[in-house]
């Protein structure tokens, strides 16, 4: 038996989350096949074939695959699911949209957001905002899984010599269509794969003040994130949100500025290697998970920090 992974890609590049899924698949220990769906995507398929550890790449081409519509992608995966004991997705917005459909169409349980592979049928996943870790075992004939990318290293993008095989597209839904998107433009590293993340909370007071975090992020080559409170208040867009229901990050350094540290926020960042908290409230729960805490007014501390990073 072997493992099938749905590849996520944009602008001709494979998303880093998919590379982490390949590492999770390697831990399961079977031959790994990647499924690439796109309107062209030969370039993506070639990159997929070069990933270390990949045995074969399946390429399905259709104009409808230019957008990641769940109906179309789930039909495609199910069409090519025969012979696979494991089907893996990244636990991204796109992966979460598709994985449960595939599980339901195959009449098996979905296994969300795994952080550890204990064996070919046993996995660990966080529940209750990461306040507990459930070890689950599946007796289903095929295990349909989404993988938390921060829990697995990225597979090497070179070294593989897999073949690319063209496969048929599946049924295209006429009930759903893509209208448009508003994507944030940023030169910064992507939030979930950045090695340093600088995040702001309600204490930032408004969106303009996030420029102080941008300044520090620029000096550290960091991504900028935010707490739910800051997003709900409209300081920054939704894609900045770190937490139980937003993005999960685990960088080498997480700098939390003006963030109190609600459990829902901690769920999204407490696996960071080093956590720094700057908050004027010494009772803020964020200090309980911080390796280094600074009790200070952020409007004093951030300019000082910016200057200190220059020296």
């Amino acid at each position: 038996m072997s493992t099938l992974i749905l590849v996520e890609h944009e602008d001709g590049n494979i998303r880093p989350a998919t590379l982490s899924v390949v590492t999770a698949a390697a831990a399961i220990g079977q031959e790994i096949h990647l499924l690439v769906a796109g309107s062209g995507a030969e370039e993506v398929a070639a990159k997929a074939a070069a990933i270390a550890g990949v045995g074969k790449v399946l390429l399905a081409k259709h104009d409808a695959y230019a957008h990641e519509l769940a109906e179309n992608l789930s039909a495609l995966v199910v069409r090519h699911a025969d012979g696979y004991s494991h089907i893996l997705f990244a636990a991204t917005a796109a992966g979460k949209n598709v994985m449960p459909r595939v599980a339901a169409l195959l009449d098996v349980s979905g296994i969300s957001d795994i952080i550890e592979v204990r064996g070919e049928d046993t996995f660990v996943r966080p529940i209750y905002a990461g306040n507990a870790l459930a070890t689950v075992r599946s007796s289903d004939p095929v295990k349909v899984i989404s993988v938390r990318s921060t829990a697995f290293d990225a597979a090497a993008e070179e070294g593989g010599t897999a073949s690319v095989e063209a496969v048929d597209a599946a049924e295209i839904s006429d009930k759903v269509s893509f209208v448009g998107q508003e994507l944030s433009q940023s030169d910064r590293p992507e939030l979930t794969s950045a090695s340093i993340v600088v995040s702001g909370g309600r204490g930032m007071q408004n969106g303009e003040n996030f420029s102080m975090l941008d300044d520090i992020a620029g000096k550290l080559n960091a991504a900028v994130g935010a707490s739910r409170a800051a997003v709900d208040a409209g300081f920054v867009p939704n894609e900045y949100q770190v937490g139980q229901t937003g993005k999960v990050v685990a960088p080498d350094l997480y700098l939390a500025v003006g963030i109190s540290g609600a459990i829902q926020h901690l769920a999204g960042m407490k696996d960071s290697k080093v956590i720094v908290a700057i908050n004027k409230d010494e009772e803020a729960p964020i200090f309980q998970v911080a390796d280094y805490g600074l009790v200070a007014d952020l409007f004093d501390a951030l300019p000082e920090l910016s200057a200190a990073l220059d020296s």
Partner: protein, 249 residues
């Protein structure tokens, strides 16, 4: 048009989950339970759609133990018209929940099903997608805005790189994200009125739905704790520690 809205009874979002001593799950005895916050948003959206004249009836559905009636009553107090509880004492997987919801969809024929994008207990984020796959109703997850356009809906979705909008044909399933709306509080007179609204209870066995699961929980553990950190005196000390002790900048 009818709207079915799913409401799940979960550990209150302000209560810290504690793992049971026998590692079988989370301690739920004598702790505050509430409606899943994403489901509150779903109820609110259903009510707004009805208030705008785009729906006639809002049906609040829960699947769980007898106490889930309280969660349904909360939805009725917010303004839902009637409730249905599929009663079970088992902790069901999302696939079983989706099959039970499909059973109700087949019976009630709603134009819209509104569900939270995930429940804050198991954090699975599966049920809406599964119900769409099983029922053939269109899927629009992680919604931050819903607009009516004839027999279609334009749904703005929160995705990893920003916002995406799609058009789906009704009947459709929408799962709610945080920015869709701010749920109302139930007013006292409405809480009293909600006690008189119809609430049907269906034992899970009466549905004839197979709720067996291939997934079992081996054990539940607490996550590893972080070692205690230190408080630094000033920015200079912080930068020094990050450069020379942690070596991360």
């Amino acid at each position: 048009m009818k709207i079915i809205v799913g409401v799940k009874r979960v550990l209150d979002y302000n209560v810290k989950a504690r793992v049971k001593a026998d590692k079988s799950g989370i301690e739920l005895a004598n702790v505050k339970m509430s409606m899943n916050p994403f489901d509150e948003i779903a109820v609110e959206e259903a009510l707004r759609i009805k208030e705008a004249g785009n729906a006639d009836e809002v049906i609040a559905v829960s699947i769980g133990p007898v106490q889930s009636q309280e969660t349904i009553r909360t939805a009725l107090a917010m303004g839902a018209d009637r409730g249905i509880l599929i009663e079970t004492n088992e902790l069901l997987e999302p696939l079983a929940i989706a099959k039970l919801l499909k059973h109700l969809v087949d019976r009630e024929q709603p134009g819209l099903v509104l569900l939270g994008k995930q429940a804050i207990d198991d954090d699975a984020n599966q049920t809406g997608q599964m119900l769409s796959a099983l029922s053939g109703m269109s899927q629009a997850t992680f919604a931050s805005r819903v607009e009516f356009d004839g027999d279609q809906l334009k749904v703005t979705r929160e995705v990893d790189s920003g916002l995406e909008s799609i058009k789906v044909t009704m009947p459709a399933i929408i799962t709610t994200d945080l920015r869709l709306n701010e749920p109302r509080y139930a007013k006292l007179p409405n809480i009293m009125k909600a006690k008189k609204k119809p609430l049907e209870i269906i034992p899970v066995a009466d549905t004839g739905v197979d709720v067996s699961s291939g997934l079992s929980v081996v054990e539940v553990n607490e996550p590893p704790r972080r070692a205690a950190g230190i408080i630094v005196k000033n920015v200079a000390e912080l930068v020094d520690k990050l450069r020379n002790e942690a070596k991360v900048i």
